[in-house]
Amino acid sequence: MKTISYAVDKVGIAVLTIDVKDRPMNVMTAEFITDIAAAAEKIATDDAVKGAVLTSGKDAFMAGGDLKELVQVFEKNASTEEIYGWCRNVQQAYRKLETCGKPVAAAIAGTALGGGLELALACHYRVVGSDPKIKLGQPEVQVGLIPGAGGTQRLPRLLGLEPALRMLTQGNSVSPQEALKLGFIDAVVEPGQELEAAKAWVQQCEEPMAPWDKKGFRFPGGAGLMNPNAIQTQMVGTALLQKMTNHNYPAPIAIMSAVYEGSVLPVDKALDIESKYFTSVLMNPVARNMIRTLFVNKGAADKLVRRPQGPAKRPVTRLGILGAGMMGAGVAYVSAYAGMDVVLLDMSAANAEKGKDYSRELLQKRVEQGRMDAEKAAAILEKIQTTENYEDLAGCELVIEAVFEDRDIKAGVTAKSEAVISDDAIFASNTSTLPITGLAEASKRPEKFIGIHFFSPVDKMPLVEVIVGAKTSDVAIAQALDYIRQIRKTPIVVNDSRGFYTSRVFGTYSKEGITMLAEGVKPALIENAARHAGMPVGPLAVTDEVSIELSYHVLKQTREALGDEYVESPADQVIAKFIDELDRKGKKNGKGFYEYPADRKKHLWGELSSLYPPAAQQPEAEEVKTRLLYVQALDSVRCMEEGVVTHPADADIGSVFGWGFPPYTGGTISYIETIGLERFVREADRLHEAYGERFAVPEKLRTMAKKGQTFYEMADKSARQSAA
């Protein structure tokens, strides 16, 4: 056994220490599965062994499935039989442990997730260290999967349907104390005592059987369609699940079904049901999309996969922020939180102090919620120095400007900063729309000038878009990325262009929605179809939230900058009308495409239907969805074609984490790959014909479709070539 060390102690307890080599955490590799089955067999057959304890040779108990392996399953076109067989194999190994006839306990001193927790659930007893940082849960659903090693069967048999379904369909993990309260672990002990406690239990265990293997087992809270609790839970649960997933995610409903169908069967049959649902979910491209983008590629981005190797790592200790508005205030908060000294500069110290209030409020909330002690909060706040004085920027390794989106203002603050900061300091602009190369013209050291584009609200949004100007150096890129890692956000690196990647492509979404309004598509249909397609907010609502005024400002600026090259969109006239004629600026001003009554929820402005009378023939919701998603996907391809985005993973991560492109798609590029390039091109050609130029298929995409290529395949190929 390579992944499990097996040692029998003096009293006949076999201690199985799991340690999957070459992996930071224990994961269920093929070797591990063979080993655990062999270990179970050994425990069952060795007469000298009285019982067993499972523990980990690493900090964490076990992280679960090997996602990097699982993501390959889809690409490799594994057959139904193969996946089902693999899953049954795991289940049978765990089941063997559960039915070995001798007491088996799990001594859990660190995080146990997914298949790791499922292994613990297949033991007869679970004791966990009292460290609140330990996470216990079944997070499979968050990467588009379902538990496949008994989680959907054992957890409900321990907790009852409702609490188990909540854990399984939401994928949230809990602390040892919470797990004890819920009832899926048996004891919490002082850290370090787990193994002893487990051994002690093994020695006194008289009936080494899972509750569901004992005669007269009753499902906690009842199960089946003649049980009122179960009916209610399943009926309401299924509705809430549809509300949450809009029928876009196969995993949550597969979990609900596996739990229900399994709940009325004996456990062996029930496990079989689970493995069939696991198989169908793993074979669905949504699982591939979610694992690839949300786990594998996001993980790589977090570890700075795009960082130039040359420049030495240099953490930011002192950060300057220019402009204490909403963005500046947010950047100050996340940076101070990450331990940097922050100089928050605004026109007046009073303004800067107002920006600091943002951190004050957030920290106070954390203290009130008991998530931070007051001392630590005070120390973080202390790190933010407010000022109106550029001299205070001295010593900053990085300065980020977040002043008004105006080239002249930005040029002014750039010059003032550069007069103070050291030669090797990096100057970054948090512009969301203005090209970096142009802004860098105001810098006397454009190689140290870079774009670091945050999303609002900064403390909640996980993505940061790094924009490389024509003259930006590798050092600046490396420094920007090192900083982003410090504040624990996910970076993508893009090349300069108007709106870069995220603002540019996202703009196509709201514009398409507004265009449909102008065409006479019912506004409710536009908004609902967008949400049903998986976008977090409808295009009209989001334009209100960003502010129609801002859209108008960007539009005018772009039109001015591009001159004759500017392509008018039917949405432009709508936006102009809302500002120039209707004075409806958006949510902030209490009126936009929506009305915002004080006493109830916002609703679409009733006059929309007189301004843009609904056409007699309304499109199918599917058509609206297709337009809204295709327009974004196509512009993402253009970004790749133009070299704005260099890797499909960046396009995917940027779209999902930057503006909420639906995670089930895996991002704008994975969306195309899911549909299939050939079919996507055919459909885009139809949309081009029907709705105009913005749906024109980029040549690169047409060629790839013809050759049967995919974006990821090409990226892998070119990565291999440059490595060679």
């Binding site: 309401v236 679409l604 919701a621």
Partner: protein, 402 residues
């Protein structure tokens, strides 16, 4: 084809479907048996001549289980040669049972039958039989299941029936029902229910609230707002109806059908079978049809089922003197009137389930009887009886006097 004639019908008064309801102490078997006894005695029926008794029941479990008509027949001391069968077409079960009993005659395979239905909702609550449609996650998901009240509110939203409009409909239902009772229009067919020592338990529909005003109703809470918004059903329904911004919850306990206990029976036979029993036919079953529509909005079956049966009978709405459409929810009837342009004074002329209640399995047979009595009272010829049904179905029957 043999013609199927209606010779008689009886119904129980409808008891409040709660613990304080007058019929709560009566077992379903006893209630059905009392109606069977009454039908036999009123018509001096030789029960051995009966070929079949078909009864609708929506929750055929517990004391309504095990083929309730057969058990009730034996309990009512009908000749033991009379078989019984129970069927379920949700809210139209009672009408479907009549159609089914008539169909046997029309097909020439039976001569004399009874169709009807029963539901003691105070004793076997709605939903007692459960079902995959709403409780099996895979099925509820696939079908975009939402409870009927959500569908009723969705109809109101989609077709523009405001809260005050549905309330006004309900006030009228109460008014018509009270007037019909006061004028004795139901006297011929309602059979008082007694206890086993012979004391009368109930003579009149108990659910009614005569004198209800629009103001009274305006104060009631929307019944489906919480399940709609908090349990996610509005969101589910809007995934099927994405051109609606939000569902306006207008239905309350006051403008929806009441939960009640009740039973109704209809005696059917061929002309010869009636003659041999010395009975005079009162009406002929002209035709019937059932249909399925979208299960999510669920309650839009009545228009297409009416159109289907009219076409089958070679008739149009103009050929129908009176319409009877179960008042499951006000919006259901209002949509029917709006779509087929039926004037309010031709439909549910003596009120309906909003005022008097909807004993699920029995209602279809009950309203068929009610409208036959009214055709006779007004000396009119034809009526179309119709119900909206769970799962998106619709069942309609046309009768004509002879």
């Amino acid at each position: 084809m043999t013609d199927a004639y209606i010779y008689d019908h009886v119904r129980s008064p409808r008891g409040r479907g709660r613990a304080n309801g007058a019929l709560h102490e009566v077992t379903p078997i006893d209630l059905a048996a009392q109606m069977l006894v009454s039908l036999r005695e009123r018509n001096d029926l030789d029960t051995a001549a009966l070929d079949d008794v078909v009864m609708g029941c929506v929750s055929p479990v517990g004391e309504q289980g095990s083929v309730i008509p057969r058990t009730a027949l034996l309990n009512a001391a009908y000749d033991e040669c009379v078989p019984g069968k129970q069927l379920n077409r949700f809210c139209a079960s009672g009408l479907e049972a009549v159609n089914s009993a008539a169909a046997q005659i029309m097909a020439g395979q039976s001569d004399l039958t009874i169709g009807g239905g029963i539901e003691c909702m105070s004793r076997v609550p709605m939903g007692s039989d459960s079902g995959a449609m709403h409780a099996d996650p895979a099925i509820a998901y696939k079908l975009y299941f939402a409870p009927q009240g959500i569908g009723a509110d969705l109809i109101a939203t989609k077709y523009g029936f405001s809260r005050s409009a549905v309330d006004a409909y309900a006030v009228e239902s109460q008014k018509r029902a009270a007037h019909a009772w006061d004028s004795g229009y139901f006297a011929r067919s309602v059979v008082p229910v007694v206890d086993h020592i012979g004391l009368t338990l109930l003579e009149k529909d108990e659910h009614m609230r005569p004198g209800t005003t629009a103001d009274d109703l305006a104060g009631l809470k929307a019944a489906f707002e919480i399940p709609g918004q908090q349990a996610g059903f509005d969101a589910v329904a809007l995934q099927k109806y994405p051109d609606i911004e939000r569902i306006d919850h207008v239905h309350t306990g006051g403008n929806s059908s009441g939960i009640v206990d009740g039973c109704a029976l209809v005696l059917l036979g061929s002309r010869e079978a009636g003659e041999s029993q010395g009975l005079k036919p009162r009406a002929r079953i002209r035709g019937f049809s059932s249909i399925g529509t979208d299960p999510t909005i669920m309650l839009t079956g009545p228009v297409p089922s009416a159109e289907k049966v009219l076409k089958r009978c070679g008739m149009s709405t103009a050929d129908i003197d009176l319409f009877e459409l179960n008042e499951a929810f006000a919006s259901v009837v209002m949509l029917f009137m709006q779509t087929l342009e039926i004037p309010h004074d031709k439909i549910n002329v003596n009120g309906g389930a909003i005022a008097m209640g909807h004993p699920l399995g029995a209602t279809g047979a009950m309203i068929l009887g009610t409208v036959l009595d009214e055709l006779e009272r007004r000396d009119l010829e034809t009526a179309l009886v119709n119900l909206c049904i769970g799962g998106g179905m619709g069942t309609a029957t046309i009768i004509e006097r002879v």
